[in-house]
Symmetry: C2
């Protein structure tokens, strides 16, 4: 069969990859599809929205993980909410200092399908004894977790609708703040300043109210709406995400495609004028 | 008639806007089309590639023009190569200090169609007595221009194929260097580091050989392939584009949507690791 176009539609815009659907299934939470694309290798869609692809995953996973992993005081205990494709876990496990990771994914089907059809995104993470997978609702998980439990919390969820909706509100962020160690770092994807302007600004303002220090970082994920993406980092004792620790940088830098200390410094500065004017003072 | 999808295709990827084609004509150089889109207002395509749209033009024009206009010693004489939609000229003319602009566009039909169907992109520039339009080949124009003629040269051409192909080679850049005043600034769009990786690196390396100072700047134009875009700035006596002059910033800052001194500082730093490794040392 010839390849066809598979598109994500968003408010009068579509972004399509030429390829073939190789599996499409429904879980209790969402539709899960994997395609073989000509340009980016295998790609994952949830509810017809692009999540990741083999040759594009570093654009997202490095940017979410490395500013946090390179800046936190310790890397003993890491929590990932979502991240069922394994890419964020793989990115964390580049660091030898990591003690263990709790990966809390609500949808076991996402993990099963990614392990079977796109195993390269999680790579060795799936076999690393430091990775503990919990099939649970991340919102309940952070409610029940003990205070000061984690050195790093990374929220790797889909858009602020469907199963990920509760990952972008005050209760959730307050629980993350409570269970984060005082010298740790919190990070979440915070949507596109272009395609999801309203929710982007809401996320930044909320996190800014709840944590002592917070800053959005701007990058690119070509397959996401507008291609322009953001992640927001937060901390309690000081803005540790702004200052990568040299021994950690040395450990991972050659193994990164987008991220570098230089890139990160620029990406934290590159806030467009209309967002700077739109944020609460 | 219902709206339909109008797509640009690029190596197994497509980016489409929902809308209606309102005019499509052939000039001696290319196919020119204007659409009415639901999300971004009227948009221009040349040879089926997205050029600009009413609600997205600032992503491109501010980033090409303002680092140059805010940094050059003087703004007496400006040269724009290409730029037939008028957006770069409008961006320059925000500055009261501008003496005059030579806009050298090869295709008169692009100007005619933009003036008639998307007049907002050029806006008042089309009626500003400081704007001189020359319908000429930009490559020949820079060959014939006198040494030290311009304070600013902005190359606002389409991709490195078709009529714009000669805007990305050594002869052209050397002529630009020759006709630029020693305290001026040269800038060109330099393609996507993702969708046009090879030509992106070639442009940066060439400009770096020809000018004493040069730096790429990274931003976003959602409608271009990958959404991730770059512009490269160059200068002769010092890297003036890095230091916006305060009185110029004060004159235009409130009137910019993407550009600000903060954004610019970040955008010059935000070079991804794979490009930093790919450039000549």
């Amino acid at each position: 069969m010839d390849n066809d176009w598979i598109d994500e539609y968003h408010e009068g815009v579509r972004y399509g990859l030429k390829g073939k659907v190789i599996i499409k299934e429904f879980s209790p939470y969402q539709e899960i599809a994997v395609i073989e694309s000509e340009r980016y290798g295998r790609g994952l869609l949830l509810d017809s929205c692009w999540m990741t692809a083999e040759k594009q995953e570093k654009h997202y996973h490095e940017c979410l993980a490395q500013p946090a992993l390179c800046g936190a005081k310790n890397l003993d205990k890491i929590l990932i909410i979502g991240g069922g494709d394994g890419g964020t876990a793989k990115e964390c496990l580049k660091h030898k200092e990591v003690g263990y990771i709790d990966l809390v994914e609500i949808d076991s089907k996402v993990i099963e399908i990614c392990q079977e059809y796109i195993p390269t995104i999680g790579g060795n993470a799936w076999n690393d004894p430091r990775l503990n997978i919990a099939i649970e609702d991340g919102i309940k998980f952070v409610e029940q977790a003990q205070q000061d439990s984690y050195d790093i919390i990374l929220v790797d969820g889909s858009d602020a609708k469907g199963p990920a909706e509760g990952l972008f509100n005050r209760d959730f962020f307050e629980n993350c703040q409570r269970i984060l160690k005082p010298n740790g770092i919190f990070a979440t994807q915070s949507e596109s300043p272009e395609a999801f302007l309203k929710v982007h600004i809401e996320i930044i303002n909320l996190i800014n109210e709840i944590f002592n220090y917070s800053d959005p970082l701007y990058g690119w994920v070509p397959m996401y709406p507008s291609g322009w993406w953001s992640w927001t980092f937060a901390a309690i004792d000081k803005p540790r995400y702004l200052n990568p620790i040299k021994r950690r940088v040395d450990c991972i830098e050659q193994n990164c495609q987008i991220w570098s200390p230089r890139w990160q410094k620029g990406a934290f500065q590159a806030m467009p004028a209309f967002i700077e004017r739109g944020l609460k003072k």
